[in-house]
Symmetry: C2
Subunit: 210 residues, 2 copies
Amino acid sequence: MTNIHPQRRRGRPPKDASGQNETRQQLVRAGVELLTEAGYSSTGLDAILKRVQIPKGSFYHYFKSKEAFGEALIENYNSFFKAKLSKHLQVLPQQPLQGFYNFVDDAIAGLEKYNFRRGCLVGNLGQELYTLPAHYRQLLNDVFSEWQKLVADYLAAEQKLGHISDKCDCQQQAALFWTGWEGAVLHAKLQQSAEPVRQFSDYFAAILQN
Amino acid sequence: MTNIHPQRRRGRPPKDASGQNETRQQLVRAGVELLTEAGYSSTGLDAILKRVQIPKGSFYHYFKSKEAFGEALIENYNSFFKAKLSKHLQVLPQQPLQGFYNFVDDAIAGLEKYNFRRGCLVGNLGQELYTLPAHYRQLLNDVFSEWQKLVADYLAAEQKLGHISDKCDCQQQAALFWTGWEGAVLHAKLQQSAEPVRQFSDYFAAILQN
């Protein structure tokens, strides 16, 4: 690591049209990719820098530490995943739980695209919790709370249309969904097959409609 | 690392009464403890040797590499966990699913004992699969198959006594159990609470009886 950050001395680097610096975006993208495969502890900064072909000095222009970088990755992954959930979890009057299945199909396509190498960043970080900076625990719980709220709101809307049982406690079902989902993604990686995710999703949907 | 293994030159070290060498057992115990907290990639041999206070040369007397050591840890954890499952998953004629709840209660006591720092070794390794030796994937799948069989056999016995629904596909339910279980343990660690494990277990049991 060098103590000199040349770019800093020349002021902030140019921004692209979206107002986000392209190098920063590249770093975050590479970080998410590597961490969803290998986890935080075993992913060195060098591997990330090598992937995006930028010098260490530039990294420290954007992030003051690996810890701060990890926070940015969690934030980025959360935004990406919430957008995905919101896009798919739409209630369609004539098609009970179609939004749920749209999400599941999209997630399975994502797993298959990367040959089941990439899991869920938040699930991965949760597993290696005690090697992470202590305050990540709260960040990860907050992420799950947000995802849980999106699913609970969706289920409540499906319930209003009579698509799922009146007896369902939508908050509780949403919590159970994420519990099962993280386990299903783990088993999909192990078996290199979408079957555990498909099986869990069908099971979950059947219970909602019982 | 030294190339000389002094103990090897003096022949195998003495065995204890159980026929297992005490030093080897200490190494395996420390390895399981550290890996259930931190995972394989971020646990260096040095940390394990420091915990059991033995020199690196002695380690290489028992294990030819970290990879071989990891295999021994998976084997050891599997034996330990199968014994736990077999002990608890007993069918009691007057008490539907009592064996299941005995297992859940014991697992929760284990999580609480270590302040939710320790998860499931096999689940942890599954999350960091792509940083592990390639053949570990099959080892981990084999472990889950064995656990799944124990649960499926137990459920079939409960079904025979009329304790769970005739409609249950016991094999499928057993697979779903381990999917949900690994996710529930992850969420318990994140929330530092047994609630996700308890909630998932109650949900699973209720569905079996529906």
